[in-house]
Symmetry: D2
Subunit: 375 residues, 4 copies
C-alpha cells in the first residue's frame, strides 16, 4: 500500500485500458502495445508526481501527461481514452486493495490455523473462565482458543467476499461512458476481464459501498484479532501467567527492566485494533458524496484506505506470530482453577465444551478445504 | 428500540427459554407455561428496573428476581434456567434488532422503489452532470436516480443478510452450557427454533461480530441514503432549483422567512447519516472484549446499537418520503444544460446512459421479485 | 438533558428575549411580562412538539406558534422578536449544557477528592508497578491515586473553562441582527446578561467551536475517569485482588454466580468512556457547516451533545462512587510486591514518590480553594 | 512529522537528558558532551531501526543500544540514564508536535489574515445569505469572511495554548524517578529547561491529556478551516459563481474537461477536515491506559498524532492559499441578491453587519498584536 504500489497500479490500469480499447476495436493493437510498454517502462518519481498532483487535485493528471509525452502520435492521444482521473484511481485502489487483502488473508488464516491447533491440543486443558475480569466458572483453554479461531474464520470470509466483489471503475467524467462511441460497456467489460475484476452496474464514482464495505469487513477482522490479543495480554499478566509469548531471545525485552518479558505481539495487535474503527468510520462517512464526483470526500478516502489495509496486515501478521508461538502453561491453569474451585466451592462441570470445540474445529477444517479447493 | 421494546424482548427470551427447557425434558410443560404466562402478564416499571439494574450492572438480574417472585415453586426456581444475564440480553438485542431492521428495510425498499420510478420516468431527462461541484458534462436525471436506487438496493441486501445471520445467545455464565446436564446444545437448538433465530457455533458473549456486522451494514445503508439526500439538498438550492421537496403545505416552512421552502426531509437524512459512522465505530471498537465477559465493552454496546437502529429507521423513512414526493423540474434542467453546453462548447453526447439505467432497473426488479418470492 | 429540559430551556430563552427587547425599549414591559408568564405556564406536550417539529425541521417553529396562540395582540406578535429558530435552540443548548456541566463537575470533583484521600492515606503503601500488564518495579498506591486525581483535576479545569465561555446566540435568520432596527447588539447584550452568558463576537450559527470545544473537554474528562476505572478493574481481578469495590450488600452481584463481586462502578465508567470519543468526533465533524445555516450538520449535533453530557455525568457519578468506596488491600499489595522483588531481584527504591504525591496534593488543594473562593 | 523528524527528536532528547544529568552532577560534563556529540553525528537507518523496534515494541530500545555501541565507557553506560523508553518517545512526541504546530499556526494565521483582508475589503459587498442551502436574506460577503477569520483566530489560540502546556516526560520505568538517587526532580527540571518545555506534576506515561488536548484543539482548527472551505466550494459552484479560486494557470485543471476550473484548494481542505475528527477520537480513546504503561493504547497514539499534525498543516496551508488568492465577484453577488430580493419581496436591511465586522476585525488585530509582542 506504499505510494509506489499505487503508482504501479495506476500504470497497470492505463495499460489495461489501452488493451481493452484495442480489444473492441477503438484503437489499433500496436497502439495498445506501445501504451502498455510505456506504462511498463515508466520510471516516474513518486514525490514529483505528488507535487504535480497538488495542482490538479489528483496524481492521474500529471501521470497521463508524462505517459503521453513518452509516446508518439497517435498512441499518445489514445492514452487514458474516454476515462476520467477517478476511473484510473478507483480501479488502482481496487487493485491495491485486492493485493493487500490477499496478504492480510494469508496471515489471518495462519492465525486461525494456529488458534485451531491450540484448540485441538488444549481441548481438555481446564482453566477458570473469567467474567468482568473476575474468576467465574471452569472452561477449557481449548474453548477459548476455538472462540478466537472461529471469530477470525468468520472475519476472513467476510473480507474475502467483500474484496471479491470489488468492481472495475470506468465511466468517463460523469459516468455516462460517453467517450467510447457507443462501445463503452464493451470497453468496461474488456477492462474488467483484463484485470480480473467484477463489472459494476453503474459508475460508482459517488456510490462508494464497494470500498466502504471492505473497510467494514476489515474492521470486523481487526476486532476479532484484537479480542484474541486482549485475552493474551490478560493471560500473560505476571499474576495470571497462564500463557506467555514465545519467540526468539530478545523478544519482548525492556530498555530498563531486564526481568521483563513483554507480550509485544499481542500489544501490537491491540494497538492496530484500536485504530481501525475510526478509519472505517471515515470511509463510511465519505460515502455521502456530491453529484458525479465528490468535492473532498473522495480525496479523503485514499490514505485511510491504505492505512486500514496496512494496519489489518500488521494485526494479522502479529496475531499469526502471537498464536503460533504462544506458550501455554496448562499446569498453572490447573493450579489456579483448583484454587478457585476450592475457595468458592464451584462446580467443576465443563458442560459441553468438548462438543462445542469439535463443532468449531469441524467448521474450520471445512472452511480451509473449501478455500484450498477454491484456489 | 425503546426501553419498553427491550423489556418485552427480554421477557420473550425468558419465556422461550422455559419452553425450550420443557421441550428437551428439563422442566415440566406446566412450569414452562406458568413462566411464559408470568412473562406475558409482567407489568414491570421500566424506570425502576433501570435503577435496580445499576446495582448489578444489568437489567436481567432484577428482572429475573421479579419473575421468580411472581411464581410458585418449582416454576420460580426454573426461571432463567442455566442462563446468564448476557444470554438473555444478547438474545433480546437480536430480537430488537431483527424487528427494527424489518421496519428499516421496508422504508429503504420504498425509497429504492421511489428512486426506481424517478429513474424510469426521467431516463431521457437530460441535465448537466457536476464534478467537484462544477458543471461538467451532460447526464440524465434518470442516471442519477438509478445510482441512488442501486446504492440503496445493495445496502438492503447487506442489511438483510447480516440480520438474517443473527444467532441466539445461550451459553451460561462462561459459555460452556454447563447448567443443562449435557442437554445444553439441545436447549440452545430448541430456543433458536422457538425464536426463529440462527444457531451459533460457540457462545458469542465476547465474539461480537454478529452485532458489529449489522452495524457496519447499517452504516453502508445510511451512507447510500445520505448520498441521495446530499444530492437533493444541492439540486434544491435556489440557484440550481432542479428539484424541490413536495409534500403538504407547511412542509419546509421557516420560523422567520415566509418565502422559504426548506428541503426538510433531505436535511434530516443527511443529519442521520452524519451520526451513524461514529456509532458503528463504537460497535467495532467494543469487539475487543475481555475473556468470557467484557468489563465495559459489552455495556457500551446497548445504546449505540439502539441509536443506530433508530437513526437508520429515521433516515430510511425520511428518504422514502423525500424520493416519493420529489418534484423534478425537467425544464429547468434543460435550460441549465443548454446554457452550459453553449457557454463551454460541450458535447451533448449522453453516452450509454439508456443502457446503464436499463440494466440497473432490471436488477432492481429482479431483487424485488426475489424478495417477494422470499417473503 | 431530557427532552423536558430542552423544552424548559427554550421557553426560558424566549422569555429572556422578550425581557431583553423590553430592556432596550423595543417592546413594552408589560408585553415582556406577559410573554414571560406565557413561557412559565406553558405546559406543552413534548412528544406532540416533536411530531410538529418534523414538518419544519426543528421544534422552535411549533413552539412559537403555540406561545403566540396563548397570548393576545400585541404581545403575541412580539414573541420570538427578530430571532430565528437556531438562536433559540442554540441558546437553549448552552443553558442545558451549562446546567449539565455543573452537575458533571460536582461529581468529578467528588471523584478527585476521593482520589486525593486515597493518595494521602496510601502515600507509603508500596505496591508493584506494572507496565504492559507485566510486573515492573515498585511504586506506591498513593502515586497511582495521585495520578487519577491529577488527571481528573486537569479535566475539570478544561470543562469548566469551556463551559464558561459558552455564548448566547442571537443573530436573526442570517446572523445580521437585522430585525431590531439598529438595536440588535443592545438586545444581544441584554439577553446575555439576562441569562448570565458570554457575548459572542459574531453570530455562531455555523461557527460551532463553542459546543465542539465543550465536547472535546468532556472527552478529556471521560478519558481521565476511564483511566482510573480501567486500573480499578485490573487491580480488582481475582488474581490481583489489591482493591475491590465497596458499597452496599448486593452491589456487584451476579445472576448466576453467587461468589462473584463484580466491579460494577468501574465497568460502568469504562463503558461510558468507550462511547464518548465517537460522539465528540461527531461534534467535531459537524463544524463543517454550510453558509449561514447548515443543511444537516446542525441537526446532527443535538442528540450527540445530550448523550455526551449524560455519559459524562454518568461516568463522573460512578467514578465518585467507585473511588469513595474503594477498599484497598495494602497487605496484599505488600505480599505481591515482596514476592516480585524476591523473584526478580528488584530494587525496592521508591524514588521520589513522596515528593511527587505531595506536589500533586498541593495542587489539588489549591485548585479546590480557588474553586471555593470562586463560587 | 516524518520518521526522520521523530528520530532527530529522540536523539535530541537523549542528548538533553545527558546534559541535564551533568547539570545536577550525576555524570561528568565531558560524558554529557560525548553523548550529545554521539547523538548529533548519529546516522542511523530509519527503516532498520523500525525493524529492530518490532522486537522490543518500540524504537528507543535499539536506538539506545546503537548509541551505547558508539561510545566508550563510562559515557556508554550513562546514555539514557534513569529513563524508560516512553520518557524518550513522549518527549520526542512533544518536540515533534511543538515544531509541527509552529508551522501549522503560521499557515493558519496567514489564512486568518487573508480572511481579515476579505472582510475588510468586502464589508459593504452585499450578497444573499443562505440557510439550509436556500436563499434567505441579505448579508455582506465581509460578514461571511469575518466569520471564517474569527473561527480560525479562536482555533489558533486554543492550539497555541494546548501546545504551550506540553510537558517534558521523565519518570523512569514506573514514573517514580527512582533511577536518580534522589535527584530525579532536579534532572526533570533541568531537562525541561534544556528543551524549553513545561514541567509536569507527575509522570504522564498513562495520563495522556497533554497530547489528547492538542488533538482536540487541532480538530477545532480543522473544523474552522473546513467550514470556510465548504463555503468556498459552494460559492464557487457554476450556478452560484460568486467566488473562484485564483492562482497560476493550470490550477484546478481537469484530465478530461478543458473548461473546468475546480476549487482544488478548497477541496483539499475539506478532505483534510473530513479525516481529522476520527483521528482525534482515537487519541481520546487511547487515554484509557493500563497501570504505569499501556498495553497497546500508547502504541496506537504515534501515527494518528503524526497524521493529525500533517493533515492540520496541509489544511492550514491550503486554506491560506485559498483565501489569499480568492477571486470575489461582487457584481455577481449583487445581481443574485437583487434578483432574490425582487422575487421574494425581501427586506434589504443589512442589520448591524458593519458593527459586527468592525468588532471582529478589531479583535483580530488585537490578537495579531499580542502575538507579535509575544514572539
Amino acid at each position: 500500500v506504499s505510494d509506489g504500489a499505487w503508482l504501479t497500479a495506476m500504470l497497470a490500469v492505463e495499460a489495461a485500458l489501452a488493451r481493452a480499447c484495442a480489444a473492441v476495436g477503438l484503437i489499433a493493437d500496436e497502439e495498445a502495445r506501445a501504451i502498455a510498454a510505456a506504462c511498463r517502462r515508466a520510471d516516474f518519481d513518486v514525490d514529483e508526481l505528488g507535487r504535480a498532483a497538488a495542482e490538479g487535485g489528483n496524481p492521474v493528471i500529471p501521470l497521463v501527461a508524462l505517459l503521453r509525452g513518452s509516446l508518439p502520435a497517435p498512441a499518445a492521444g489514445h492514452v487514458h481514452l474516454g476515462a476520467t482521473s477517478q476511473d484510473i484511481l478507483d480501479t488502482a485502489a481496487v487493485l491495491v486493495t485486492r493485493a493487500a487483502v490477499d496478504v492480510v488473508l494469508q496471515d489471518a488464516e495462519r492465525a486461525a490455523d494456529a488458534a485451531a491447533a491450540l484448540a485441538d491440543t488444549h481441548r481438555d486443558t481446564a482453566m477458570i473462565g473469567r467474567t468482568l475480569l473476575q474468576q467465574a466458572l471452569p472452561i477449557t483453554f481449548g474453548l477459548k482458543a476455538a472462540g478466537w479461531m472461529s471469530a477470525i474464520d468468520d472475519a476472513t470470509l467476510r473480507v474475502r467476499a467483500s474484496a471479491a466483489e470489488l468492481p472495475v471503475a470506468l465511466g468517463g467524467p460523469v459516468g455516462t461512458l460517453a467517450g467510447y462511441g457507443g462501445r463503452g460497456l464493451q470497453v468496461r467489460g474488456a477492462l474488467a476481464r483484463e484485470l480480473g475484476l467484477a463489472e459494476p452496474l453503474l459508475s460508482w464514482h459517488t456510490l462508494r459501498a464497494p470500498l466502504a464495505g471492505v473497510a467494514g469487513a476489515l474492521a470486523l477482522m481487526c476486532g476479532a484479532l484484537g479480542k484474541a490479543a486482549r485475552d493474551v495480554t490478560l493471560l500473560a499478566q505476571s499474576e495470571v501467567a497462564e500463557v506467555h509469548e514465545g519467540g526468539r531471545p530478545g523478544h519482548g525485552g525492556s530498555s530498563s527492566m531486564a526481568h521483563k518479558r513483554n507480550p509485544v505481539a499481542a500489544v501490537a495487535v491491540v494497538a492496530c485494533a484500536q485504530r481501525v474503527p475510526a478509519l472505517a468510520a471515515t470511509l463510511h462517512a465519505t460515502m455521502v458524496a456530491e453529484h458525479e464526483r465528490a468535492a473532498g470526500a473522495w480525496h479523503a478516502e485514499w490514505e485511510p484506505l491504505s492505512q486500514l489495509l496496512r494496519l489489518s496486515g500488521s494485526a494479522a501478521a502479529w496475531a499469526a506470530q502471537m498464536l503460533s508461538e504462544l506458550v501455554v502453561d496448562g499446569e498453572r491453569m490447573g493450579v489456579t482453577l483448583a484454587d478457585a474451585v476450592a475457595r468458592n466451592e464451584l462446580s467443576e462441570d465443563l458442560g459441553e465444551t468438548a462438543s462445542l470445540i469439535e463443532h468449531a474445529l469441524g467448521r474450520h477444517r471445512e472452511q480451509r478445504e473449501q478455500r484450498e479447493r477454491g484456489s
